[in-house]
Symmetry: C2
Subunit: 328 residues, 2 copies
């Protein structure tokens, strides 16, 4: 089969919503082989005009917050409402075993079997930038395949919440009602990313604690300037097990998304995200130049070490490294 | 006079603590002329071994929080305790009039006249990165000149709080007791930078409001994971006008700084800051290449526009721009 025919075939099936074609396309964009990268970019360029039509939701929850349980309940609710839901993830997992690849699917077993849902674990990768790029590209493919709600989930390793927030329209923070990870506190910088905070497990013995936690978060958020003037983030309580609060949470998300569209915020947001993605890719290309050459890599390490030791000015060292890159 | 003699003369006076020599040296590093830049880097390289010995404090306060009043009272307290205090600023001010150059000094008149203090307004500049670099370099010069407390203040335009936090050991957030900017709320991302929060104007009619505000902030900060395990940020009340809380605030800063040194946090922090400064200078050098060439600038704008419009993949566009840079 010629390359063009393969591509057209892949395009056609993908645009028709075929889940296996989507899975194969995502595998292609995750590949690090140069030949695959070329095919992937060709495919992405072809589907780009069909992307952008989903509601993009980031969902973050530390271990113990009930993220998988929520996404299963929420995703099932959405498909029941007639939506097509894709669940992607951004979590650099270079140290995790192969077991994690299946982990997500077994934790969301029911949703994984739903014909109107598509679940994909995080791409593997050593740098967050590389993982984030592949997740974003997977999102474009899922949108082209007709999925109208795309969830990008993260458990929150390193700066992955920030990476997830950079590619979605709304960022939803799941918070356990108390004890466990809450004793540690919310990771710095994450509360301010949230458009909506959901206190989970608001049922049975934990209901009172959940109500108190919701009040605490509401008070804290009230002290901070909202992302959008006049649209402060909401704090709601849910129980995935009882199914309560799920419909209300979706109504809140949809309501906010509609307001963002109406006031032009969404268009501006996505343009700004695209702009930042471009410039961060330029950094990635620069890093790849350095990491791809043993000589440059050594030079960079040497210069970095001198700056860290305080024996060299950062600007002088950076300029020296850049000259090496140009000369390479 | 030979260049070497000038440099040695400048070095000597600077290292001796001469405030005029320090002012001249800072003017030199702020200059954008290439010949001045060369001299500046030569001077900085010579004084680098003498830098690093101050307590570096970031102080941020929105208009109305009483920042200048506090810095004057605090700085005067410190010189009274035998310290030499430098007050620098990071606030990209390309749109502000020349009047702002004098503004800081008139707002801190008493401190400006103190022989053991040195006040310098923010360098002018259009990019935050450029302004931040010059402020950092001014800090190195001030330390070499024997100032043992360096304050980097910011009123908080754009990302200037983040820039300030990246060059200091401790970040202090000044908060007005209520009304005014508080109705807007604290800018997102700023609360989590704080090692210490000071509620100002805690006197007279505003004292009750200040006490309530302090309690609110304390509750909010309690929900967030602290920067350093076991060292949650403190919230204190001060009155610059009455002079109350100033000594306690300094004791809290000094106490935290000592703990950071004792547990190795300070060393790690400064090394990490130096490392990040190096890589961000590489980006700056890259941007300068692009902005310095009309052809590259046009190419960059064109590619950026295509990405924002959704007609080009960010990675493809970035790689194309990079090839142009290498070919230039």
């Amino acid at each position: 089969m010629t390359e063009r025919a393969v591509k057209n075939g892949a395009d056609g099936a993908l645009l028709g919503g075929d889940r296996r074609a989507l899975a194969r396309a995502i595998t292609l964009v995750e590949s690090t082989k140069p030949a695959d990268r070329e095919k992937a970019e060709s495919l992405l360029a072809a589907v780009l005009p069909h992307a952008g039509r989903a509601i993009r939701l980031g969902i973050s929850g530390a271990p113990g917050a009930g993220k998988s349980t929520f996404i299963e309940a929420f995703g099932t609710y959405l498909t029941g409402q007639g939506h097509k839901v894709a669940v992607l993830a951004v979590d650099p997992s270079s140290r995790r075993s192969g077991g994690s690849i299946l982990g997500d699917k077994t934790r969301m077993e029911k949703l994984a079997r739903d014909p109107n849902a598509f679940i994909r674990p995080s791409p593997a990768g050593t740098t967050l930038g590389g993982v984030a790029r592949r997740t974003r590209e997977a999102m474009l493919l899922a949108e082209a395949a007709g999925f109208d709600v795309v969830i990008v989930e993260t458990v929150g390793v390193g700066q992955s919440e920030t990476a997830a927030s950079e590619m979605v329209d709304l960022f939803v923070l799941l918070l356990a009602p108390g004890g466990g990870d809450d004793l540690q506190g919310i990771k710095r910088g994450v509360m301010e990313l949230a458009d909506l905070a959901l206190v989970t497990k608001s049922d049975g013995d934990l209901k009172a604690a959940a109500t108190r936690a919701a009040a605490d978060y509401r008070n804290a958020l009230r002290l901070m300037r909202p992302k959008y003037p006049g649209l402060p983030p909401e704090v709601m309580q849910i129980s995935s097990v009882e199914g309560s609060g799920i419909a209300e949470a979706w109504a809140a998300m949809k309501g906010l998304h509609d307001k963002l569209i109406k006031h032009g915020h969404l268009k501006r947001l996505r343009q700004e995200q695209a702009r930042r993605w471009f410039w961060s890719e330029l950094q990635t290309v620069l890093s790849e130049q350095i990491l791809g050459s043993e000589r440059l890599g050594k030079e960079a390490k040497k210069l970095e070490a001198a700056v860290v030791a305080g024996t060299s000015l950062p600007y002088t060292a950076a300029r020296a490294l850049f000259r090496h890159i140009l000369a390479a």
